[in-house]
Amino acid sequence: MTHTDAVTVALARDGDSEAFRALVEHHSRAVYRLAHRMTGNPSDAEDVVQETFLRAYKQLGRFESRANFGTWLHRIAVNCSIDLIRSRPKREASHDTADLDLIGAAPATSKAVEASPERLMLSAEVQQRISGAMASLTQMERAAFILRHCEGHSIDEISRALGLKVNAAKHSIFRAVKKMRVALEPLLPAD
């Protein structure tokens, strides 16, 4: 934790609302980005930001001053995202095949891409295809995949957090990876 963060957190714990405001202003963008990755929806992400800071405010007394405030907040934001996702009715009946066709349908720029303008175009296309694949995931697939792939949680932990059986959590991840492969493999250079 930076010195400034540590001082600000200490002030906020003592009830200084301006200090808490500074923490909100310093961390809200990062929390939003994480929430958006988890939920895939701007308005859900805004709700998660709000709930994260509310929880942080309530639990500030339990925050250990030696810990990193950003990491602590990150954990709260992940939990808030999970709670939001779990509160929604599950709609796991996935749109697998139709989606897989759609994801793979974008024009492929495969083969050897060496010159830099082409590389730039390729990286834009990679991003576009990843966005498309992410958008095709169900909320559970997205959450399970992000928790495994970006947050580094084990499948066991993910199944407990999302209230799924271990096999269901695994299959959510498999489906997400499959969609990523269909979207991105056409861009890979031929072996």
Binding site: H149, K170, F174
Partner: protein
């Protein structure tokens, strides 16, 4: 762990588990050894690695956030923090049938302690006869009065913003404090209207909140360009007009409620 039966290759799902280190120790060793020896599985795993390594934070982009996002987060959060921690009282008043009364009461108390009164006194209330019907009417009249006053005060802020003189270095700063005071009340009324299923009032108060939050969150020296943006938001959504219409509708409903009470008490 499963193998493709024909030629004993590692299945795709197991390659995924191997990538994430999620296979048990024995399976892990077998798969690693097989990938080392089998060209087909080696190539398949390499492709999987290439795909998954290209999915990282930089490629999982979130939408661009506008300047001032942090201030808006704070402006929305601040009224909630003032209500923490929630105790038994807030649980009791969260019952839908008491929300209108709670909204009116909270704002009346807040206003009393703030040392100012709303323009226009509360109407003379009908004598309390103890019946549920009378208390329901009383609540409704209190709400009509209070919400009407809230809209009147909001209307004055909107008028100031729309008619501020650009030539005299006008900015949002002048209305910031008033907007800040109105945000919490607005949210309380909005929640109450939502709990009572009054969709048109909810819509109006939502629209109003966005403008109030923007003004309240403006820095102390809010610029002329920010003022122009707020004006645009007010004008493009015909907000001032809508506030006037609802305000005058509330006035009519209040008069009707008073007339009804008068007729009933003369029976």
């Amino acid at each position: 762990m499963a193998w493709d039966t024909d030629d004993m290759h590692v299945q795709d799902d197991d390659l995924v588990l191997h990538y994430y280190g999620e296979l048990g120790a024995a399976d892990e060793a077998r798969v690693a050894a097989h990938i080392g020896e089998c060209r087909h599985c080696h190539a398949a795993f390499r492709r999987l690695q290439q795909v998954l390594m290209s999915v990282d934070e930089s490629t999982l982009a979130a939408p661009e956030l506008p300047d001032g996002f942090e201030r808006v987060v704070w402006a929305r959060l601040q009224p909630e923090l003032q209500h923490e921690p929630r105790g038994w009282l807030s649980r009791v008043i969260s019952r839908p049938n008491l929300r209108w009364a709670a909204a009116a009461l909270a704002i009346a108390i807040g206003s009393f302690y703030a040392g100012h009164r709303w323009p226009g006194a509360l109407p003379v209330l009908a004598p309390v006869d103890g019946s549920a019907q009378a208390s329901g009417q009383l609540r409704e009249r209190l709400l009509l009065v209070d919400l009407g006053d809230h809209l009147d005060r909001s209307q004055r802020v909107l008028v100031e913003l729309v008619s501020a003189d650009d030539q005299r270095g006008a900015s949002l700063a002048g209305e910031r404090e008033r907007a800040e005071q109105l945000v919490s009340a607005n949210r309380l009324y909005r929640d109450t209207a939502a709990a009572n299923g009054d969709a048109s009032i909810v819509d109006l108060l939502d629209q109003l909140e966005r403008v109030l939050v923007e003004v309240a969150a403006s820095p102390s020296g809010g610029s002329a360009s920010e003022l122009a943006e707020v004006r645009h938001r007010i004008e493009s959504g015909s907000l001032l007009f809508k506030v006037r219409v609802v305000s005058s509708d509330l006035q009519e409903r209040r008069k009707a409620a008073v007339r009804q009470t008068g007729q009933r008490s003369s029976l």
